[in-house]
Symmetry: none
Subunit: 205 residues, 4 copies
DNA sequence: GATGAATGAGAGTTCATTCAT
DNA sequence: TATGAATGAACTCTCATTCAT
């Protein structure tokens, strides 16, 4: 019964896992079908092609991150509030959905242009008004007010995003550098705390 | 002229570009051959299989980053010196060889375990003694001496690496957020400065 | 008409012909596909690989010979009856399916060990109880009773099998020795008669 | 030193082993070269092509069997003497050079026509006079004299050859049927004795 | 004679996609 | 909707053969 209506959802879920593990070209429709417990041909029935399916998955991933940021920005927060909330938004989403980060990263590496146009679509489609222009203004305002020490909005955000994104991808990398496994206990909280601390001390005045 | 004995080197170079652009499964031997200006069969003559070629490339990438860090650590530097040098090492290598970062990231995402064992091999093969144990001690020492505010070596390094690694990958991402292209002019220097500034203020006392 | 559900059977038939004519490595999937009037990829769809297909064919060949011998042995026949029936079983099967002999011979030559394990499987899979142990006892009994002059079961059977197997393969060989073609007319009957005559006179008392 | 002059002999030896194990199409020039401890290109230098090499090997194999039979036939022996000598000739050669049998059998199975013309060449080239026509006459004479019970020269020789050829190939086959290994001890002598006994009792009067 | 590198034709295999039912 | 079978293009890999030295 619930097998019926949510076939496309099962496909999307399986596809996210597959794409984030193997990338677009490495992904196998066969595996997605098996994981989604559905006939392979049905994926084409629902999503037309591998590329289309990939696009839908990517859109879904971005859609899940974007609105929260828009909402935050539209609140006109102080730099301090913004930092805390932004880090928690990113970290929360990514630590709960590591496949999201993986897909975004792979897209970033292999098809950066793809993401650009995809985001543009998201903007125009949803008519999300505050827009990123606002974010630039916001950061400019903080800097002029003396709230932050990094005046370049681009660098400001890149610092924030780098730390948030790689926090969960970088774990295995660190385990290599230190040559022993890192305890999972409270990893998320510890990481958020460290990042927040770094950003506050490093960018707030 | 340079067509002579360096066929395998040309293959490796072409392969790095190909793998970092398309991933393991997306890469095409045909394209690598054409780029290396060589008969396709020769790739197999030299490297046996696509997978083997990939492994050799990955090893080469890692080998090129590792020694510089080992050297730095073995110098027993202060925290301040370490931060500056480490950021410049990472940034320098990666901004000059963006394909490196891409491959490392892809591996990190798709085969973290693969990297682990690969690094282990590098350690033992090269008998590089200072090792990462030393790094942990170093960070501990700085913390006890009051040089740094982040006492967890793991968080300390993750902050450093995240900012260095994503600096160059994140550019397209930022261009999306801000919806207009970022000037390339002096990008590397600006980026290093911002990261260094953030790390100094945020982690040094 | 017969194009329907029997694609795998058509493949097996074509494969037997191909393998028995060209051997494992000389066989061409393309040719098998064309002969079976099917898309080449379907062979892999049904049989995974060339090697797997070969194995299936070999098994089928052996399965077709084995049960009749088991049945004969379990009848507890006299030596005379056994000789006559065995020769006819072998000759009948082989003259009607010369490809069988070819495949068995090729396997015998190139992978004798392969056959051994294959037969072992056939035994255990089918739980065929009378088994060859019984055959050894049977031959022993005939010898003690004075029915036959060859007391070594191994030599006894090797004589029988050699004559039956090579009867149809050896034709071209003979044509060489005698340097002119042998008339096909009643070849099978003549051959069986000669072999039976030889075995009766030579091994019965 | 002895490496010099006998390169072609080493190739032929390696080729016989390779061809008898893998057949013509399964044989690998690479493997032959390695086995002969020589550069692959040299095989082509000496033998032009794989097919040519194969032909040379086959010719060599046949040349080694043929003269002894011719000699025996030209002696105008009695049936009894002929049987004994022929069986010993075949068995001796084949038990000492099992690769010979393998090659002949494979040729017989896969390219019977090939052998035919090859033999024709051998006849004309070497001007081996007694020829097989003589053999037919010989058998006919024995039959008319009442020496033998099988009057058809073709059947007569097929019986003889089948038993001789398969004696050594059939061993693994028998081990399967009896499901336990056959002791190697005196295998050749025992086998010859059994075959001779069978042929004498079965075909001599 | 001898060698390592090179070549090109083709072989086995995979996979997204479509078809028939 | 749903399925198993089918397809064709493309891909990795192999191998006899040749080339340059």
């Amino acid at each position: 019964m619930e097998q019926k209506q949510d076939a496309d959802q099962r496909i999307l879920k399986a596809a996210l896992k597959e794409f984030s593990t193997y990338g677009l070209s490495g992904a196998r429709m066969e595996r997605i079908a098996k994981e989604a417990n559905i006939n392979k041909a049905m994926i084409f029935y629902y999503f037309s092609s591998k590329e289309k399916l990939y696009e839908v998955v990517i859109r879904k991933v971005f859609s899940s991150v974007y609105p929260k940021m828009v909402e935050l920005i539209s609140m006109n927060p102080t730099a301090e509030v913004f930092l805390e909330r932004a880090v928690k938004i990113y970290s929360g989403i990514f630590s709960r959905n590591p496949d999201f980060v993986k897909m975004i990263m792979i897209e970033l590496i292999q098809n950066p242009g793809n993401i650009t146009s995809l985001m543009r679509d998201l903007f125009t489609e949803n008519g999300l008004t505050p827009g990123p222009g606002h974010l630039k203004d916001l950061i400019g305002k903080w800097y002029r007010k003396g709230e932050i020490s990094e005046g370049d909005p681009f660098q400001f955000m890149l610092n924030l995003v780098s730390l948030s994104l790689l926090s969960f991808l970088g774990k295995p990398f660190m385990e290599i550098i230190f040559q022993n496994p890192v305890s999972d206990e409270n990893f998320e909280e510890k990481r958020i705390e460290s990042v927040l601390n770094l950003l506050r001390r490093g960018m707030l005045t």
